[in-house]
């Protein structure tokens, strides 16, 4: 759809948008402060949003600080993107029931998929969502659960006005402002929001908002803000050519990382594009019913490379290589671009304080 000139919405009128979404049958999801981090969960009003909070991040650290700026979205990100919403960490794919005569029946549990509107989605996470769409929806096989949830999703994106020290979306080309893939995009200014629609669905809501024409000053401020945030990002992931990391498997830095890496899988769990999962059965004691469960898994885990009597990757080094080479290198062959959208989560949530970007730059040869 055509790019249109944004309009302006007063700060407190954001609640009108929320009301409209609710009236349209959407459940609201949005950022909020929980247990010392900004997490997405259901919200009921603007007061649930993390006003006046800001995240301070560096490898292995995430702290919320009170911010004098009373904006709703003046922060970078929290431990999870949209992934848990569309691709739950644990779900029952089907149940098997066995009757006394031994015959097995397979039952897919009936689920109702709610329509969900997410408020405050960041550019890096939209980029990640596109990659997950590609993986679960655009290949030969379409994941039915993902598809059903995805169809009911409405995205209200926010252009970042702040970047944490771990952010590097500029260098991956995914942020700090959104370009496509959203229904509504907001640019938060002190007194309100510039609002733009990114889809017809989004447009339908805009027509019902008390919008004003954006002033030239406001448009300037938005441009200025974009540039300031981009400039805030000192971290850069240098470009990696296809095959470049895979060819560097002998680089001594891998072993250096392996001494520090705990192979705990946290990076893969917070990564918004990681898709690995395993499937397990859970029998009830009576034995007449079993749940077939699908759960997030990680290439740092044991079952990922396990074959009968043979472990494909039995060292931390080999597992770290799988993670980084897949994400930054072979991903490009699989999906036409790297699997990294610059959100920085794998660094902040790494208990060993490993700096993924710095390590990739070293192995990729950028730092030499």
């Amino acid at each position: 759809m055509e790019q249109q000139i944004p309009s302006f919405l007063l700060r407190n009128d954001l609640s009108v948008l929320l009301d409209l979404l609710v009236a349209d049958g959407y459940q609201l999801h949005g950022p909020q402060v929980r247990d010392g981090a900004i997490t997405y969960a259901s919200i009921s009003s603007l007061s649930d949003l993390p006003v006046g909070y800001q995240d301070q991040q560096k490898p292995g650290h995430y702290q919320l600080a009170e911010d004098h700026n009373k904006r709703f979205f003046h922060w970078a990100n929290g431990p999870q993107a949209l992934k848990p919403l569309l691709y739950p960490a644990r779900e029952v794919l089907w149940q098997a029931k066995r009757n006394a005569s031994g015959s097995i029946q397979f039952i897919v549990p009936v689920q109702s998929f709610e329509k969900i509107a997410v408020i405050g989605v960041k550019a890096c996470d939209i980029a990640a969502l596109k990659l997950q769409d590609q993986h679960f929806l655009q290949g030969e096989y379409v994941d039915p659960g993902y598809q059903a949830r995805r169809e009911g999703l409405l995205l209200v994106a926010v252009n970042c006005s702040y970047a944490a020290s771990t952010c590097f979306c500029v260098s991956t080309g995914d942020g700090p402002s959104v370009e496509s893939g959203f229904d509504i995009a907001l640019t938060e200014l002190d007194e309100g929001f510039l609002v733009a629609a990114g889809s017809e669905k989004g447009e339908r809501f805009l027509t019902r908002l008390p919008l004003q024409n954006a002033t030239a000053q406001q448009l300037d401020a938005a441009t200025q803000q974009h540039e300031t945030v981009a400039a805030m990002q000192t971290r850069r992931l240098e470009p990696i050519a296809v095959g470049q990391l895979n060819d560097a498997r002998e680089h001594p830095q891998w072993q250096d990382i392996a001494e520090r890496c705990l192979a705990c899988g946290n990076c893969t769990m917070v990564c918004p594009t990681c898709f690995c999962h395993h499937q397990n059965d859970e029998l009830v004691m009576k034995g007449d019913e079993s749940q077939h469960i699908r759960e997030w898994d990680s290439c740092f885990g044991e079952s990922h490379g396990q074959l009968a009597g043979f472990q494909v990757r039995d060292t931390i080094k080999a597992r770290y290589q799988q993670w980084m080479i897949h994400k930054l290198d072979s991903w490009q062959e699989q999906y036409g671009r790297s699997g990294c959208t610059g959100c920085g989560r794998c660094m902040s949530w790494c208990p060993a304080e490993i700096d993924f970007v710095a390590e990739a730059n070293i192995i990729g040869g950028a730092d030499e």
């Binding site: 995430y62 001494e259 520090r260 769990m269 917070v270 009576k286 208990p351 060993a352």
Partner: protein, 267 residues
């Protein structure tokens, strides 16, 4: 072969907490008794200590000379022996005395007449004495672990041994990391999953009650703990609370060869 699979529950030195995974099962316990014949389970009132059974569940560690002999009998009487919990699997919290410089003196400090006390110098895991077919880690184990192990054995299959890291489960459940946000010395990165990441759910650091996960990088985590301001002795104490016995630890880079053992309860 329509004979019911037989089961015995034996107790060695322990707090009884793991047996509660059975006794707290409620109606599932009755369902269990419908599928297997419980031959010995003193706490539940079934007594036939020397019965031959297909499956023996063993709680507790070996700490007396009499225990040493009894565990041999248990092994000889059972086809498939499963340890329940930290005590049986690694020696448990009471193996803290294995780290003591002079454990003998402890008896004297507590008992006016230490000569009456029969206690070996070490608290040992069951596997230090007899071959163990399957281990249930955790202090305590939970009812789901029992259900999983029993139903898989009844299906004629070796139980699945999940040695994944706690962090993975913690993230699946959407808990906010205590190490990253609170600088809490969380053991999750080296601890095996099984509890469902309980401590982080309560906003506190894991203290490692499920023991080592596969590929544990202890020294790597210790570096982080040092960085949080813990002194070397405190780091050591953190790593040696529930599974103190060094023999029970998994080495870094353990490549999981030979994870499956021969033999199991025949249907």
């Amino acid at each position: 072969m329509d004979r019911k699979v037989t089961l015995a529950v034996h107790k060695f030195s322990s707090c009884d907490g793991c047996q509660l995974a059975l006794l707290n099962m409620g109606t599932t316990l009755v369902e269990l008794a419908e599928r297997v014949e419980v031959k010995h389970f003193a706490e539940a009132g079934v007594l036939e200590e020397d019965a031959q059974v297909d499956v023996a569940l063993v709680e507790g560690s070996v700490v007396t000379a009499a225990d040493e002999q009894r565990i041999q009998r248990v092994r000889n009487n059972s086809k498939y022996l499963i340890t329940m919990g930290a005590c049986a699997t690694s020696g448990g919290i009471q193996a803290l005395k294995n780290l003591a410089e002079d454990p003998e003196s402890w008896t004297a400090q507590i008992y006016p007449q230490p000569e009456f006390i029969d206690s070996l110098e070490r608290s040992s895991a069951i596997k230090a004495y007899v071959e163990v077919d399957f281990e249930l880690w955790g202090c305590p184990i939970n009812s789901q672990q029992i259900t999983a192990v029993v139903t898989q054995l009844l299906s004629g299959v070796v139980p699945w041994d999940d040695r994944e890291k706690l962090c993975i489960e913690c993230k699946r459940r959407g808990h906010v990391c205590t190490l990253i946000t609170q600088d809490a010395p969380c053991m999750g990165p080296v601890t095996r999953n099984g509890c469902g990441a309980l401590c982080p759910a309560f906003g506190r650091a894991c203290y490692g009650c499920y023991g080592d996960a596969s590929l544990p990088n202890h020294s790597g985590l210790a570096v982080r703990f040092n960085g949080l301001g813990l002194l070397p002795k405190q780091v050591e104490q953190r790593f040696t609370l529930i599974h103190p016995d060094p023999d029970a630890r998994l080495p870094i880079g353990n490549s999981d060869k030979q994870r499956h053992r021969e033999g199991q309860a025949d249907e």
